[in-house]
Symmetry: C2
Subunit: 502 residues, 2 copies
């Protein structure tokens, strides 16, 4: 018993020190995307690479494996401790397949390609990004083969964000989603469209910034344990549950851009701020999976942040910021306008229905890139073809096309599908919340999000990585992921907005 | 030969990876003092501590020592390579005396005590800072005994900032400086004083910020390889020569505060941006010593930034920012006002003459704290007594007294004396610059600081740590540090400003 205690302490100390180094790398990445001066990219890339390599070496050292094996065989652990060991051992067995030199090379390639991506986007030229991206894709293919896979090499990468997620699962999920979504979109297309042109008026930068801060504070973001900054592409990162950073971007002629990216990232941030602080550096101090992470961001962004009740309360506040821009509209019109369904170019600005097609396009592309059937050079053509096929729109240029997302420059291949899964989980969780929290809709109409946050803290956040996506979903809703919740939510919402019945 | 090449490459790679980790710690420290949310302090302290400990362990590993010894015995090295090895070996032999656990404890204590200091200063209460400071002082005393010393334990700490610097050297230097400085101060005190009240008018924050940025850009600060932010106490830090960060603070009722701290930190930053990039992570890529570092900041702040020529050119620019505040003054009056000699409470705002007494007070206090003759609890009393003794002024509270400087909270004991040494070096270097750069004074009057920066790059910056302070001083001026240059510079300047002859 005494010996197990000592070993567990040793395990905890080692994990926490490795976490320190990983979080330090995250600070450097955050800095790179917010404040770092341009010429620093080379040195910064190697600094992050050294931290990644150092953390990887420490974690995949043989003696870490031995310690984990010993502890896994011990009976003297609490349920939480056993779970930590089990998950660390899973990570260990996965990560030890990657050589430290490979981790370093990947890290350097990612840091540098982020800068190339930012330049390429600014210059509206895929060509600028093509070489570093190609290098990254080759590294990702190598990673897939090092990690090993069954069925499809892309599975190895999907598994990194969503344990157990596969191409066959996603193919089926998307195939199931497409027909009812398309049918709903067709019905909507036949209805008269609400005017949302006022969202493209001039909304001054500073006022948008202030409104964003006020909204995320109201949602429960703890500014004593986090902050918001500006970056090229909005993101959330975390260096512990007491230091969670969100970023946003502001377009002066598009109010939506800032507003719902703020709410989306706050959904991520509330999850991170709600993770158990005492499990710092251990699996139970981490999030469950990326689809659960996205369930939190999408739930706040859409189920809450694009709901009628939410804006019934917040529209008057918004009006105090932008009386000229919004003086001739009202809460109901505003609600309908921000939910206008329309095929568009930019994923982060898409409505809740067409959004899934943006994800499917990226999914198909990534699958092709990783299996080798699509060449890096052909990304723009393939991208544009898919936007025509799925959304019926022409892509005018790369900035509004294949360069819009930061993810590939981060080496994140296999991430996008979790956005769709997250939306499906969000709808299912929100359905459960409506059933389990008395008066939730009235609360939101009163601007009171505290009960919902408390419920999410209890149901999701506090458990960290204790449960898989599926286990969590069953615990909360009594069943596995079921897209019917999203489809019912969507049907009800849009029938109401567009005033039609099927 | 081939083998030496291989070993040197290995050495370089190891040093650069250790530097990556140290610079990462510096990024986390910078973030802590600029943007970090309040509740993150505990986790941040341990993150920095882990990086410090990791870097220390890697550097002091036996195999590092063996590699250095082998290379030191090899004849196949260039002069620069030999110098790198010699300096790394010196560092190795010094740092291996400190156990990794001690380095970790010191790092954690420093991070936490910074936050306590900031709170204590805001609350104007030394009591809040007393315990963490006391802990830190005990750690510093332990550090001194671990490093070893002759003559005085404070020597071990002085040596950390200025190799070879000792209590007996400083006692003699300050004793030599006091009588002529006091005599000059007495003469000045008998003259009519220039009115400088306009410096305390209302100078709006944003305009000060913009002016600060414009000035440091004019001085040659490269914003592609650095940036400026706001912090509680101005500082410069560097994560490579391509990422050098300065901070400033702005007081709306005191223009001087921002202006000369900007110029001071820019002096530091120009040195860091001028270090040889190809020596990243190696001794020759580092600065020579802290007194040389301070020679750069003090030279730009005072010899340039408080000169008549500099403001003859820049006053019209300043006037465009603050026409109301400065409309009734002129360049000559401005020059005299910013150089008004007056015993004051705050070191960073002191004139060039009384400045040295601020340093001597801290020196005496630190010496007492490290040798144990002064207790932490008695710092405020001792501080106030010394301000009365040396500067003849009463200290109204701790915020304007012993809590004003950030240094102790950083664990920096032995740093302050380098400010005085830096001023002396600055005067001596500037004297050489005037002799060696044709038309320098005219250049400055024309707002052209490029020739001076080029000269400093050539004489000081590019050499990194190749030369000690003394060697550098001899190379540049033909002799060792000689306070006569400062005293002559000061006499000439203040005789002119106060219009008297002795």
């Amino acid at each position: 018993m005494a010996s197990t205690r000592k070993l567990y302490s040793k395990y905890k100390e080692q994990m926490q020190q490795i976490a320190d180094i990983r979080y330090a790398a995250a600070v450097l990445q955050w800095d790179q995307e917010t404040y770092m001066p341009a010429r620093s990219i080379g040195h910064r890339a190697r600094q992050i690479a050294t931290l990644s390599e150092t953390a990887h070496k420490l974690f995949t050292a043989k003696k870490t494996g031995q310690l984990l094996e010993t502890l896994a065989g011990s009976g003297d652990l609490s349920e939480e401790e056993r779970k930590n060991i089990e998950l660390s051992l899973y990570d260990y067995n996965k990560l030890k397949k990657l050589p430290a030199t490979f981790v370093r090379a990947m890290s350097e390639a990612v840091s540098k390609s982020y800068q190339y991506w930012a330049h390429a986007k600014a210059a509206n030229s895929f060509e600028t990004f093509e070489d570093p991206l190609d290098k990254l894709i080759h590294l990702k293919r190598r990673e897939a083969s090092q990690l090993g896979w069954e069925g499809h090499p892309y599975n190895a990468l999907l598994n990194d964000y969503e344990r157990g997620c596969t191409v066959s699962f996603l193919d089926a999920a998307f195939s199931g989603l497409r027909p009812p979504l398309s049918a709903l979109l067709s019905s909507i297309a036949r209805q008269p469209q609400v005017d949302n042109a006022f969202l493209q008026k001039h909304y001054p930068r500073e006022l948008q910034w202030q409104f964003g801060l006020e909204i995320i504070k109201k949602l429960g973001f703890d500014f004593e344990a986090g902050r918001q900054d500006i970056s090229e592409h909005p993101f959330t990162t975390s260096f512990s549950s007491t230091d969670v950073r969100v970023t946003t971007r502001i377009s002066e002629n598009d109010f939506s851009n800032m507003c719902w990216s703020c709410i989306h990232e706050t959904g991520h941030a509330l999850y991170e701020q709600g993770l158990p602080a005492e499990e710092y550096g251990l699996p139970l101090g981490e999030y469950s999976s990326l689809s659960i992470h996205e369930s939190q961001s999408r739930l706040w962004e859409n189920n809450v942040g694009r709901s009628q009740g939410f804006w019934q309360h917040h529209f008057p506040l918004l009006l105090t910021y932008f009386p000229e821009q919004l003086g001739s509209t009202d809460p109901v019109h505003f609600y309908k306008a921000i939910n206008r369904v329309q095929a568009s170019l930019i994923r982060t600005e898409a409505d809740e229905l067409t959004y899934h097609f943006h994800v499917m396009i990226r999914y198909e592309l990534e699958k092709g890139l990783i299996e080798g059937s699509v060449k890096t050079h052909d990304i723009p053509a393939f991208w544009n073809e898919l936007y025509e096929k799925y959304l019926g729109i022409g892509v005018p240029d790369d900035r509004n096309g294949c360069l819009q997302d930061v993810h590939w420059s981060h080496g994140s291949f296999g991430y996008f599908p979790t956005y769709s899964l997250g939306s499906l989980y969000a709808a299912q969780f929100y359905d459960a919340a409506l059933k389990q929290i008395p008066g939730l809709e009235q609360d939101l109409q009163n601007g009171n999000t505290t009960p919902l946050l408390a419920w999410l803290r209890e149901q999701v956040h506090q458990h960290g990585r204790k449960w898989t996506s599926d286990e969590l979903c069953k615990n909360i809703t009594g069943e596995s992921l079921n897209s019917v919740y999203f489809l019912e939510y969507a049907a009800k919402k849009y029938h109401n907005i567009y005033n039609f019945t099927d």
